[in-house]
Symmetry: C2
Subunit: 498 residues, 2 copies
C-alpha cells in the first residue's frame, strides 16, 4: 500500500493560504479599512472563516490525516505537521455547527453590550451577554472534551498541552512571591519623585523614524514585513515573508511607540524566523500563545528596559530629540522606563505589577467557568481582589471589570498566556544570557535574535511549548527565573533589599 | 413546489466575499506588500482563485441556478442576479481544469519571457511563450463556445454581449475618421511651440493634497474608499463601501497624479454608486469593462480636460503651487493638458490619438487569434501599422510590440474595451450635457456624479452594457458622439477647421 504525503500537503497549504487571507483582511481592518466598510469586512471575514472551518473539518482531510498517522516511517517533520493539524481539526470537528454559530452571534452581542456597559460605566448592562457567553463556552468545552476541568479545553485553544493542574500552582506561587517585591519597589520608586518625562512632548515623526531604526537593529527584515500605525498595536500578516507590526504614536509619551515597537518586533522576529521548509504548513507557527508572548516580553522588558540597551540608545534618541530630552541623563531615562507603580489598568502596568493583573483574571475565570461566582457579584469581587493584590481600588467598572475586550468576546483562557510569556521570557533569558549579554553591552541586538532563531524560531511547531522550553532551558515552566530576574534588577535599580 | 432564493443568495454572497478577499490581496500586492512576499502572495492568490472557481462551478450552484431560471414569477432583480451568475458560471464550467492550469502556467511563463524580452529589447525572446498562450486561448475560446469567431468568446470575457461583427465596423469607422483630425490638430499643436510645463517641477506632497481635494469635489466618499500610491494606478477594493484607488506622483509632471486620480476617481464613483440592495450580489458590478472605462474617461477627458474645469481649478492649483505655476495663464494650462502629438506609447497618448493605438492592437489580435499572422512577423507588422496610423515608427520592440503587459498574460480581447470606454463616454456626455454643463461651469462636479449615479451606477449589472447605453442615450454604440466631441473641442482650441 503506497502512501503519498502530497495530497495532505496541498490541503495544508490551502488552509495556510486561507489563513493568510484572513490575516490580511484583519490587519487591514485595523489599519487602512475605510470607516463605512466595517460591516462589509465583517461579512468577508465571516465567509472566509466559514470556508476555513469547512475545509478543516472536511472528511477527506480527516481520512488523509488518519492515513498519515498510520504511517510508521514518515519523516519527523511530516509526522509533526500531521499531528498539529489533526489536533486543530480534532478541536474543530467536535464542536457542532449550531454551537459555532451561536457563539459567533453571542460574541457579536457581547461586544455590543460591553461597549454600551463601558459607555454607561455599568457592568450590569453587559451581564446578560456575558452569562450567555459563559454558558456557550461551557458547552464548547464539553464538546471539545476534557478530563473534568472545563477550563482546560478553553486554555488549550491558546496554550496546547497546558492544564489548570499544572498552571495554577505556578501562577499562585508567582503571585505570592510578587507581593513583597511590589511593595518594596513601588515605595522606593515613589520616593524618586515625579516620573522623569512628565510634562514633556515628543515629535511623533521622530518617534516613528526611531522605531524603524530599532526594528532594523533588532534584525526585523523590513523587506519581509512592515510597520504601520493602529490604535491597539498588534502583530499580524499573511506569511513569514509578510509579517506586519503596528505601533502607536503619542505626543505626550514616547513609550507606547518605543516599547510597542520592541514588543511587536519580538513577535515579528518569531514569525520571520520559521524555517523555510515549513512555510505554508502547520509547522510554521508558534506552539502556543505563551511562547509567542515570551518573545515579545523578552525584547520589550528584559532587553528593552535594560541599562545596556539605553546606554546605547538613549544618546541616539536624545540627539534626535534634543528639544524633548536635553538635560536628562541615561540613568534618569532608565528609571523612567522602569517606573513601578500599582495601577488599575493591565495594559499600562509595569513588569513588576503586571502578573498580578493576570492572577486576578485567571482566578476569576476559573470561578466563572465553574459557576462558583454569581455574575452579579463579579464587579465587587474584582475590586476586592484588586485591592488585596495591588492595593488600588477601581473607581468604576470601566477601570475595573470592563477594561479588557477579552470577555466581551467570550474569550476565556487567554489571559494566562500573558503570564506564561513573562515566565518563559525569563527562563529563555537565563539560558541565553551568558552568550548574549556581552553583545548587548556592545549595542549589538543581532546576537539575541540569532540565539532565539536557532533555539526557538526555526523549530516552529515541532514540539509543544513547554517541551521546547525544557529542551532549551533544561527545565519546564517555573517562576524562579522571573522572580530572580526581577529581584536582581530592581534591588540594584532602586537600592532596596528584596 | 416551493422555491426559495435564499440558498442561492448565500452562495452569491460567499462568492462576492471571496472576490473581495482576492481584491484586497491584489490591491495590497500593488501598494504595501513587502518585496520578499511576492511568491507567497502569488500562492495565496492562486489558492483563493482556485476556491472561487471551485465554488462557482459547483454542481449544487448549477442546480440552484437552474431552479431559479425555471421560476416564472421571480422578481426582476433576482432574475437578473441568477442570469448574470449563470453566465459567469457557464463560461467557467465549460473550460476543463487541465486547460485552466495550463493557461495559468503559460501566463506565468509569458510574463517571465516578456520581461526578459523587454530587457533585451528583442521580441524573439517572448515569441515562443506568446505562441503557446495563443494556442491555449484558442482552445479556451472553443471550450467556452462561439459561433465561428473565436475572438468573440475572449472579448465577451470583458465585454459581455459584444461581438466582433458589431464592434469591428465601429472601430474601423472611428479609425478612418480620426486620421484627418489627428493630422490637423497635431500640426496646429506643434505650432504652439514647446509644451507649456516643460522644465518645471511640482511638489509631490502638494500634488497629493490636490488629488484628494479633487476626489472630494467629485463626490468620491473617502469614508467608503481610499487613495494610495502605486506605480501603475488602478481601481480595486473589496466592496462598494471599500473602493480603493491609486495614483502616481511625479515631480516633473503633475498630470500623472491629476489625471490618474480623476480617471480612477471615475471608476471609483461607479463602484461606490451601486445600489445598496445589490451589495454582495452579481448585480453590484458594471456590465462590462467598456462601460466601466466610460466613467473614467468621461471624468478624466471630457470633464477633467475641459475649459470650465480648469477655469475653476487652475487658480486653486496655482495658489497652492505658485513656485511651479506662477506666470502661467489658465488658457496656457488648458493647452498643456490638451497637448496632441502622435506618439509611440499607448498609456501616454492624448485623447485624440489614443484610439489609433487600440485600432492597431484590435486588428493584430484578430489576425493572431485567426492564425493569419506568423508571430515572427508581428513586430514588423506592428511598426508598419504604427507608421501608417500615426506616422511614428518604434525604434525598438520595447517602444513597440512589447510595450503592454496584456499579451504577456495572454490577455486578448481586452484592448477594445478602452476604445468602447471612449465612445460610450462621449455618448453619455451628449445625454448628460444639457443638465450638467451649467453646473460644471459653476465649478460643481456633483451634478454629473448624481446624473451618472441615477442613470448608470445604481443600475449595476441589471442590463448588458449596450442595452443600458441605449436606454440612457436613445442609441446603441456609435462613434458619432465621440467624433463630434473631438472636432468641436479641438477646432475651437487650436483654431483649425475639422
Amino acid at each position: 500500500m503506497s502512501f503519498s504525503f502530497a495530497p495532505l500537503l496541498t490541503r495544508m497549504q490551502e488552509l495556510r493560504d486561507l489563513g493568510g487571507a484572513i490575516g490580511l483582511l484583519t490587519w487591514d481592518q485595523e489599519t487602512y479599512l475605510p470607516a463605512k466598510a466595517d460591516e462589509a469586512r465583517g461579512a468577508q471575514l465571516s465567509t472566509l472563516q466559514g470556508l476555513y472551518h469547512e475545509r478543516l473539518t472536511a472528511t477527506a482531510l480527516g481520512d488523509l490525516l488518519a492515513a498519515a498517522a498510520a504511517q510508521r516511517d514518515l519523516p519527523a517533520d511530516q509526522r509533526a505537521m500531521a499531528r498539529v493539524l489533526a489536533w486543530e481539526r480534532g478541536r474543530a470537528v467536535n464542536v457542532p455547527g449550531d454551537l459555532v454559530r451561536a457563539i459567533a452571534e453571542a460574541q457579536s452581542q457581547g461586544l455590543t453590550a460591553w461597549r454600551a456597559a463601558r459607555e454607561a460605566k455599568d457592568f450590569r448592562l453587559f451581564q446578560p451577554a456575558l452569562q450567555r457567553l459563559l454558558e456557550l463556552r461551557r458547552q464548547q468545552a464539553d464538546a471539545i472534551g476534557h478530563s473534568g476541568q472545563r477550563y482546560d479545553a478553553l486554555l488549550e485553544g491558546y496554550e496546547p498541552g497546558m492544564r489548570v493542574e499544572r498552571l495554577r500552582p505556578v501562577l499562585e506561587s508567582l503571585s505570592r512571591r510578587l507581593v513583597p517585591i511590589i511593595r518594596a519597589v513601588s515605595e522606593a520608586c515613589a520616593r524618586k519623585g515625579p516620573w522623569p518625562l512628565a510634562g514633556k512632548t515628543f515629535d511623533v515623526e521622530k518617534q516613528w523614524r526611531f522605531t524603524l531604526r530599532l526594528l532594523k537593529d533588532m534584525g526585523f527584515d523590513l523587506d519581509a514585513g512592515r510597520q504601520d500605525k493602529s490604535i491597539h498595536p498588534f502583530t499580524g500578516g499573511t506569511h513569514p515573508r509578510d509579517v506586519r507590526l503596528t505601533t502607536r504614536l503619542e505626543a505626550e509619551n514616547p513609550f507606547p511607540a518605543l516599547f510597542g515597537t520592541i514588543h511587536e518586533g519580538g513577535h515579528g522576529l518569531y514569525e520571520q524566523g520559521f524555517s523555510e521548509e515549513h512555510f505554508r504548513t502547520p509547522l510554521a507557527a508558534a506552539p502556543s500563545m505563551g511562547l509567542h508572548e515570551s518573545q515579545s516580553r523578552l525584547w520589550e522588558n528584559i532587553v528593552g528596559r535594560s541599562r545596556p540597551f539605553w546606554r546605547h540608545y538613549f544618546p541616539l534618541l536624545q540627539a534626535q530629540m534634543p528639544e524633548s530630552l536635553q538635560g536628562l541623563t541615561t540613568e534618569q531615562f532608565h528609571v523612567a522606563v522602569n517606573w513601578v507603580e500599582p495601577s488599575l489598568i493591565r495594559v499600562e502596568a509595569d513588569e513588576v505589577t503586571y502578573n498580578q493583573h493576570i492572577a486576578l483574571r485567571f482566578e476569576l475565570e476559573l470561578l466563572l467557568i465553574g459557576g462558583q461566582l454569581p455574575l452579579a457579584d463579579l464587579p465587587a469581587e474584582w475590586n476586592a481582589r484588586m485591592e488585596s493584590l495591588l492595593g488600588v481600588r477601581p473607581p468604576d467598572d470601566v477601570k475595573g471589570v470592563l477594561q479588557d475586550i477579552h470577555w466581551a468576546w467570550g474569550e476565556l483562557g487567554y489571559f494566562p498566556t500573558y503570564a506564561l510569556g513573562n515566565l518563559y521570557s525569563a527562563q529563555l533569558w537565563a539560558a541565553a544570557r551568558p552568550a548574549v549579554q556581552p553583545e548587548l553591552e556592545r549595542g549589538n541586538l543581532l546576537a539575541l535574535r540569532e540565539w532565539l532563531r536557532q533555539k526557538i524560531h526555526r523549530e516552529g511547531y515541532r514540539y509543544p511549548a513547554e517541551e521546547l522550553v525544557q529542551r532549551v532551558c533544561g527545565r519546564g515552566l517555573t517562576d524562579d527565573d522571573f522572580i530572580r530576574y526581577l529581584t536582581a534588577k530592581y534591588s540594584e535599580l532602586y537600592g532596596v533589599t528584596l
